[in-house]
């Protein structure tokens, strides 16, 4: 069947079998691999995309259900080649490790901020509870969302300062370390 939608701001007309999920349509028909297949049962959130601004697990929606809708993957968040400020904040905080959960995590965080559901760290954690991450322990992701919400997101790029920087302590012992590393100035 034919599904017509707006995909990342551009009109798209895709022919897919009716039993395909939105995730499969995005990946296999539209070539959008920035939605990830993590579990296929709506638990991990790696496939999250925005459908008319609402974050959904695209593995749990059938492709025909988005006929006429506007769908945004993480790539759709960029404006005029610039990353979304939340993405910049994720870079500054070190919220990206393996990166597989990241697109879905960014989508959920963008929605949480839009809904005003990122008021406190605890609220951010609840807003991201549908997105599993196995690498970061979540703290640096929460810090990124908080930094973005507060408009103080550290810019990425060379030696971008990170919120909550390292706490480093010199230990004794022979051949003690040289002075702790100092980042290159901005």
């Amino acid at each position: 069947m034919i599904v017509e939608l707006t995909l990342n701001g551009s009109p798209a007309r895709l022919e897919v079998p009716a039993h395909w999920t939105l995730l499969r349509m995005l990946r296999d028909a539209a070539g959008r691999t920035d939605a990830k297949h993590g579990c296929g049962e709506g638990v991990c959130g790696a496939c999250a995309v925005l459908v008319d601004d609402v974050a959904v697990n695209s593995c749990s929606l059938l492709a025909p259900q988005v006929d006429g809708a506007s769908v945004e993957t993480v790539a759709g968040l960029a404006r005029e080649g610039e990353m979304h400020p939340l993405q910049e904040a994720m870079l500054g905080s070190g919220g990206v490790q393996c990166g597989f959960c990241t697109p879905g995590m960014v989508i959920s965080a963008v929605e949480a901020i839009r809904l005003g559901a990122a008021g406190s760290d605890e609220e951010i954690r609840h807003s991201l509870a549908g997105n599993l991450c196995r690498c970061t322990g979540y703290g640096k992701i929460v810090a990124a969302v908080a930094a973005h919400r507060d408009g103080s997101a550290a810019a990425g790029g060379f030696a971008g300062a990170a919120p909550g920087g390292a706490d480093r302590t010199e230990a004794g012992g022979e051949g003690a370390a040289p002075a702790p590393g100092v980042g290159i100035g901005p």
């Binding site: 920035d34 490790q97 597989f100 697109p103 951010i124 390292a166 012992g173 040289p178």
Partner: protein, 770 residues
């Protein structure tokens, strides 16, 4: 080695550089294994066993072959070399064979639920799925062996020719019996850990094709590109006709250390000549991928009245599952780390791992050094309780020091900064919060650990790296390192930038390719920063020396007077300088190479001998840590909530402090899942936790704010005296949580995970927690 010192010490190293790979990942641009496709690509899937133990009477694939779109169906007889023999190191002499067998596709017998039986390749995924359904397997069920104690009974079902004892390590040091006889206090404990899954977010996946000159090329999510040799053996091809490419990996944690999709992709690509993709479902990954070993530990521990350890008597039985994989080495880590980061002059350590019909167990972050933390730290807490000592004070009285030797004979040659780490953790602790209600209790627990970094010294580990300038002044690094998310690649960029001055954004690193990049070994064993970092450091220093020689001639100064900066080379303290472009043109004109290949070799050692008298060095070095956790226990439901967490480790020198923190925080979160919620559940060796709705990894709500404390002793065997940090922080969370629950409600929990059911039952058994 270069004589040219690095004069701008720690200019880039030690800074929180934004990782180049993160910039792509956060935009969804990274092409992971399953994101890659080729024209006319086939789709491959596996038919897996429904039984944990059965004889295959018949496997009928005729109906599957007739499914429209199916190109090929393979069973064991179709695999050129279906039998894979793996070395089982250690005290295995009386086990019989020194090697253990596993099959690419099951032949005659299946020994675990989910074992691959047949392989299907089809034009579409739907056709491949239909073909799997059309395969008819006639099973003759056999008795299931799912208890490791039972596995050692002579009348138990024998799962392999050589019997059920897969491997064992045993040692006795000092006079254990005399130490117990003279002890002021003796404590005993039995501890049980569970099977857990790596649960990386990226399921196992890859694409393969037959490339120029018949080279079977496999681009797959793997921690080990060196598996090209194993695939070649299976395909009966020369080693140099198989190439493995590792793109950026969506998490590994040891689960992508053994092969996953590689042999199957190789079989289809070699036999059909067409590109092929295989992507495992989450259910396949959870059912059939290897687990962390479940381990039963019995500890008997003696101490004097001041709390100084006199002896440990330790018996460890580990469930290795249906095939050998890396169980023997995992057990060696348990043997080495069994007494923890404490001086223990007398020790008897007996470790055994056995076959059962559970899913095979193998590598997972912590690799045998993790399970034993529950045992040795549980014993330290019991001792503290017996002696009325503060648990951290008891530990301080026993901390290892530089120069000490572990019971296995391992010397400790670098700083053991545990006192400084513990101090730093204490400094960061807030007062213990008040309970949130009348039927709740709060408590604080501590745990310390040691974990090796680097492979066993007798494996003669090495890592190579190629560094070369381009004539425009940019720098290229070629190194076959797989990056599994820990910043393996970006740390190397920082190291090269540190030595050569070139700005990180002007460095391109090509990783994870067994044919085109110098091999640097596996991204396992917390070895990659240590090994590939040293290789890049050595290459960078050699390259710097070559360029400095040419620059010194042009600038008419000694090479030692030069400093390498972002834009070129300058005379220290002066204004004479050369930009890289000019310098490289000069190198070309005088025929001085502007690229180098360097190899770093780890310290060597004498292999373990079967004699129990053998003592010696097992690992290059260790990383130490001290963690503290505050928990709140609901006395009625048994729910344990983690209120706060501080985790300290000595990393020698942080190359990228943010990446170090990321490793610590991520490992703590994984360790808290191990402590509180994660468990692969089997019934008659059938896996009952096949989805993320059943296998519960922590979400952002369960994980607290984790404070990572990065201590830098300046001593370590990695580049710039760094230590490895990938695995070490996963050890302490479980025993720390056990100690905190004990402090809160006075119960001793010894079986992981500490689920609400277990905690509430223990509270009731102890009289209601009041």
């Amino acid at each position: 080695m270069s004589k040219v010192a690095v004069d701008q010490a720690h200019r880039v190293v030690g800074s929180e550089l934004v990782r180049h790979d993160a910039v792509e990942k956060v935009q969804g641009k990274t092409v992971f294994a399953a994101d890659f496709s080729l024209p006319r690509m086939l789709h491959a899937m596996l038919k897996r066993s429904e039984y944990a133990h059965a004889r295959l009477v018949a496997v009928d694939v005729s109906a599957a072959e007739a499914v429209d779109g199916v190109v090929a169906v393979y069973t064991a007889a179709d695999v050129p070399n279906n039998t894979v023999w793996v070395d089982v190191p250690g005290q295995t002499l009386e086990v019989g064979a020194l090697k253990a067998r596993s099959n690419v596709l099951a032949d005659e017998l299946v020994r675990y639920h989910g074992e691959p039986i047949a392989l299907v390749a089809a034009e579409t995924e739907d056709a491949a799925l239909a073909a799997l359904d059309a395969i008819v397997v006639d099973y003759e069920p056999l008795p299931v062996l799912d208890d490791p104690e039972r596995a050692l009974d002579p009348d138990a079902p024998q799962l392999h020719e050589a019997g059920n004892l897969l491997a064992h390590w045993e040692l006795e040091e000092g006079d254990v019996e005399a130490a117990f006889a003279g002890a002021d206090v003796v404590v005993e404990g039995e501890y049980q850990t569970q099977f857990i899954d790596h649960a990386y977010l990226e399921p196992e996946a890859g694409v393969a094709w037959r490339d120029t000159d018949g080279v079977i090329t496999i681009r797959a999510a793997t921690q080990v590109v060196e598996h090209f040799r194993d695939v070649a053996r299976i395909l009966e091809l020369p080693d140099n006709k198989v190439r493995v490419i590792a793109p950026y990996i969506g998490g590994g944690f040891g689960g992508k250390e053994d092969m996953t999709v590689e042999p199957y992709l190789g079989i289809v690509a070699a036999s059909t000549g067409r590109p092929v993709r295989m992507v495992w479902s989450r259910q396949e990954s959870l059912i059939a991928r290897q687990n962390r070993h479940a381990v039963r530990m019995r500890y008997r521990t003696a101490a004097d009245a001041d709390g100084r350890l006199l002896a440990h008597d330790i018996d460890i039985l580990s469930d290795g599952g249906a095939y050998a994989l890396l169980s023997a080495l995992v057990l060696l880590y348990s043997t080495t780390c069994a007494v923890g980061p404490y001086r223990c002059p007398n020790a008897r350590i007996r470790c055994r791992t056995v076959y059962t019909n559970h899913t095979p167990c193998s590598a997972m972050r912590g690799f045998g050094g993790m399970q034993v933390t529950l045992g040795y730290e549980g014993q330290m807490d019991r001792l503290a309780g017996e002696l009325g000592l503060d648990p951290l004070e008891l530990r301080r009285r026993n901390f290892l020091e530089k120069g000490d030797v572990l019971p296995i004979g391992q010397p400790l040659e670098t700083a053991v900064a545990l006192p400084a780490i513990a101090d730093a953790v204490l400094e960061r602790l807030e007062p213990l919060p008040e309970p949130g209600g009348p039927r709740r209790a709060v408590g604080r627990g501590f745990a310390c650990n040691l974990q090796p970094y680097g492979r066993c010294v007798w494996l003669n580990d090495w890592a190579s790296a190629w560094l070369g300038f381009e004539l425009d002044g940019t720098l290229t690094i070629r190194i076959a390192v797989p990056d599994i998310g820990g910043g393996q690649a970006s740390s190397l960029v920082q190291i090269a930038s540190e030595v050569l001055g070139v700005a990180p954004e002007r460095i391109t690193i090509h990783i994870g390719d067994s044919a085109l990049n110098p091999l640097t070994g596996t991204t396992t064993a917390t070895r990659q920063l240590y090994m590939s970092g040293n290789a890049v450091l050595e290459a960078a220093r050699e390259l710097r020396e070559a360029l400095a020689g040419v620059a010194a001639g042009l600038l008419e100064v000694e090479a030692e007077e030069l400093e390498f900066r972002v834009d070129g080379v300058r005379v220290r303290g002066g204004d004479r300088e050369l930009d890289f472009r000019t310098l490289l043109a000069a190198c070309a004109s005088v025929n001085v190479a502007w690229h180098v290949l360097a190899t770093y070799r780890a310290p060597k050692g004498i292999p373990w001998q079967a004699e129990e008298s053998w003592r010696g060095r097992v690992f290059p070095d260790f990383t130490y840590g001290c963690h503290a956790v505050d928990v709140e226990v609901d006395l009625d439901t048994g729910q344990v909530r983690v209120l706060g967490y501080v985790a300290g480790h000595d990393v020698g020198q942080a190359i990228n402090p943010q990446s170090v923190e990321g490793q610590i925080e991520g490992a703590v979160a994984m360790g808290l899942g191990y402590a509180l919620s994660e468990r692969v559940v089997f019934e008659e060796a059938q896996n009952l936790t096949a989805t993320f709705a059943q296998y519960l990894i922590p979400t952002a709500v369960e994980v607290p704010a984790i404070e990572s404390v990065v201590v830098e002793s300046g001593e370590g065997m990695g580049p710039f005296n760094a230590r490895g940090i990938g695995e070490p922080p996963i050890g302490p969370p479980a025993p720390a949580v056990a100690a905190a629950i004990r402090a809160a409600v006075g119960i001793e929990l010894t079986e992981l995970p500490f689920t609400p059911e277990r905690v509430s039952a223990a509270i009731r058994a102890a009289g209601g927690g009041r």
